[in-house]
């Protein structure tokens, strides 16, 4: 059951500088007290924003109106580490972000983002430095993530990006919603269950 094919994402970008930004910072645990994901976008980076904005109003990029309509997020190294909470990519996606470009991502965050149809693509540290500086200087800069050519364009320049082939194929073919795929050969699943002694009986 193909869902939406995702080939390229274009729009303005939200730069979030810093290595090892964990999912507790992306969405603090107190906002997980709900049986739905609704409204999480209102609390994205909430504590970081409050602390940064207290020094100078709207100085956290996620508070800055110039970045309010961004569809691409720019990050540094090991983004999304820590807790496996899908609430983190949900909050980002619900804020309007369609793709994240960064030096590297935690594995669980990366997988959760794929399941939401939000590619996390990697780029060299120099690329991130150049893109972030460009966007901070000119927030209206259009950033284009292209999974076909595996490039990101920012302003006048184009850079290479990385994405594991399986994830890239899933986006390009519209098969990133795994459930239907996993259910498409249930006999094979039953066969494995029968083969495992702890499932079928010792």
């Amino acid at each position: 059951m193909p869902v939406e094919r995702i080939q390229h994402i274009a729009g303005t970008a939200l730069p979030i500088r810093g290595d090892n930004i964990d999912t507790d910072r992306i969405i603090p645990a107190r906002f997980l007290k709900s049986v739905s994901f609704e409204g999480l976008e209102n609390h994205l980076f909430e504590d970081d924003r409050r602390q940064t904005d207290a020094r100078q109003a709207n100085s956290h990029p996620a508070s800055n109106p110039a970045f309010a309509r961004a569809t691409v997020m720019l990050v540094n190294r090991n983004f999304g580490c820590g807790s496996s909470r899908e609430h983190a990519p949900q909050a980002i996606r619900r804020r309007g972000i369609r793709a994240i470009v960064g030096e590297s991502f935690s594995e669980i965050f990366f997988g959760n983002s794929i399941a939401l149809g939000m590619p996390c693509v990697s780029a060299a540290p120099e690329t991130m430095q150049a893109l972030m500086s460009e966007v901070e200087g000119a927030p209206a800069t259009e950033v284009v993530v292209d999974l076909e050519s595996m490039t990101v364009r920012g302003g006048q320049r184009t850079y290479a990006i990385g994405l594991p082939p399986a994830a890239r194929d899933a986006f390009l073919s519209g098969t990133w919603d795994a459930t239907a795929l996993l259910l498409s050969d249930f006999d094979a699943v039953r066969a494995v269950a029968r083969r495992l002694p702890y499932v079928s009986g010792w």
């Binding site: 090892n20 910072r25 007290k33 709900s34 994901f37 602390q51 580490c81 935690s106």
Partner: protein, 465 residues
């Protein structure tokens, strides 16, 4: 061909290769809790799917449970709504729930092993990153997000890419006052908080062989803090002995047959690894974090590094070159899926016995499960703690992530036996966390400041380890 446990378990659970190139992996045990499952059940309902293997999913409640007043309905209406939702979902789909009345409730990563659900050779998934804990039994266990919880409910499978395997050997003997917590903090410091991305960590060496199952769980638990989604120890006699007679473990002849199968899944002696690292246990000291990620740690008597991140230092109110011993604390927390087991409470109790918590320090012990709490009470540990001025609470995640009422206020400093010192983790956006072993937390609670447990008066029996 010689292979690692990871490869053997992966192969045994591989359903097929997907068109994307990923592997469809069968999940042998699915653990769920109230925070990351309600949306997954909604997604399942929206698709019109049913739970494929309801008897391979087990639920408990841990993150939001109050640890003081557990009467229903909870005073916190959102917490009550989350538990009620879990109860409804479990009822509707025929999933067993180990709830507050069961006597078997607790942190999902404490009760899995304790109830014998966690067994060697399994694949285990749970919507919680500390699922790596279960790897202590020679299982391949990892955290997943809510959409993947939906996938497992619907199909008992996940679409995965294989991991590389890094063998981490810890050789020699740990010194007195040094614990599994210090070993894993040292490993994370050495390899970095993202050093494990793309890897499963296989912990081995005579120091790991000598560890109890509880200690192995502490090590595997924090694999994710080093970036490794999976951490495991090869199963041995200690593993099998632990599982014998546990509720969900095989019994009688089945147990013997199980042991034979479990023995075959350990890594072969000549297996090839993608990477190898060796640490000497004798060089590891009691370790404490100084920063805002678990890789930012030092030995308690070591000066903070000269290249320490200035932003982290500013947040923590510390400076380069300073030593952590002598740092005043406001709160002491003993508990969590890392260090909330019976042996952790015994070590902490040995430190506090006959002493008293320092003035102005709030100290609490939150057992990892109802069974841990009951066992500790049978040994009189609750009295040791309460006589010393600790609060003795009900089981749950509590102040590890502050989804109940247990949380830091303002800029409080907490000596904590938990796993994450992230900004805001313990409930106050400006609260500060110092991660350390339970014995070190106990010593800090008594002294009112960070102290080296090796030099602590209450540690008279430390040499006996």
């Amino acid at each position: 061909m010689a292979s690692t446990l990871f490869q053997k378990v992966w192969d045994a659970h591989s359903v097929r290769r997907l068109p994307t190139g990923q592997t469809q992996l069968f999940i042998g045990l699915h653990l769920i809790h109230e925070v990351t499952s309600p949306q997954a059940f909604d997604m399942l309902r929206a698709r019109g799917d049913r739970v494929a293997f309801p008897d391979r999913t087990i639920a408990t409640v841990d993150h939001i449970v109050p640890t003081k007043d557990q009467r229903r309905p909870f005073i916190d209406v959102k917490a009550e709504e989350m538990l009620a939702s879990l109860e409804r979902n479990c009822r509707e789909h025929g999933i067993q729930l180990l709830d507050l009345q069961s006597g078997q409730q607790g942190i999902v990563h404490v009760i899995g092993p304790e109830q014998g659900l966690t067994q060697p050779g399994m694949t285990i998934a749970c919507g919680d990153s500390h699922t790596s804990t279960h790897g202590a039994f020679g299982a391949i266990a990892f955290g997943i997000g809510t959409s993947q919880v939906r996938d497992v409910l619907a199909s008992q499978c996940l679409a995965m890419e294989p991991l590389k395997v890094r063998r981490i050997e810890v050789r020699g003997r740990m010194g007195a006052g040094v614990y599994a917590k210090d070993v894993i903090l040292t490993i994370i410091r050495r390899l970095g908080v993202n050093g494990g991305v793309g890897f499963a960590y296989e912990y081995a060496g005579d120091a790991v062989d000598a560890m109890s199952m509880d200690e192995r769980m502490t090590i595997c638990n924090m694999s994710i803090e080093g970036g490794a989604r999976v951490g495991y120890v090869n199963p041995d006699q200690k593993t099998f002995d632990y599982l014998q007679a546990r509720r969900f473990a095989p019994h009688g002849d089945d147990f013997d047959r199980a042991v034979r199968w479990w023995s075959t899944i350990a890594s072969d002696p000549d297996a090839a690894y993608d990477d190898r690292v060796v640490l000497m246990a004798g060089e590891i000291k009691p370790t404490v974090t100084w920063g805002i990620n678990p890789g930012e740690s030092v030995a308690v008597d070591e000066p903070l590094p000269s290249d320490a991140d200035p932003a982290a230092l500013e947040f923590m109110g510390l400076s380069r070159g300073q030593r952590l011993s002598g740092t005043p604390i406001d709160v002491a927390f003993i508990g969590s899926c890392t260090n909330g087991r019976l042996s952790d409470l015994r070590e902490a109790a040995r430190v506090v016995r006959g002493q008293h918590v320092a003035a102005r320090v709030k100290a609490l012990v939150v057992p990892g499960s109802q069974a841990v709490r009951a066992a500790a009470e049978r040994e009189g540990l609750d009295r040791v703690f309460t006589d010393a001025g600790f609060e003795w609470r009900g089981a749950g995640c509590s102040m590890c992530l502050a989804m109940n009422n247990d949380r830091l206020e303002g800029t409080q400093v907490c000596a904590s036996s938990s796993n994450r010192n992230f900004k805001g983790r313990q409930g106050s956006p400006t609260g500060r966390t110092l991660l350390m072993s339970p014995a070190m937390v106990a010593a800090a609670a008594i002294a009112g400041e960070v102290v080296d447990v090796r030099q602590f008066d209450g540690m008279e029996a430390a040499g006996a380890r």
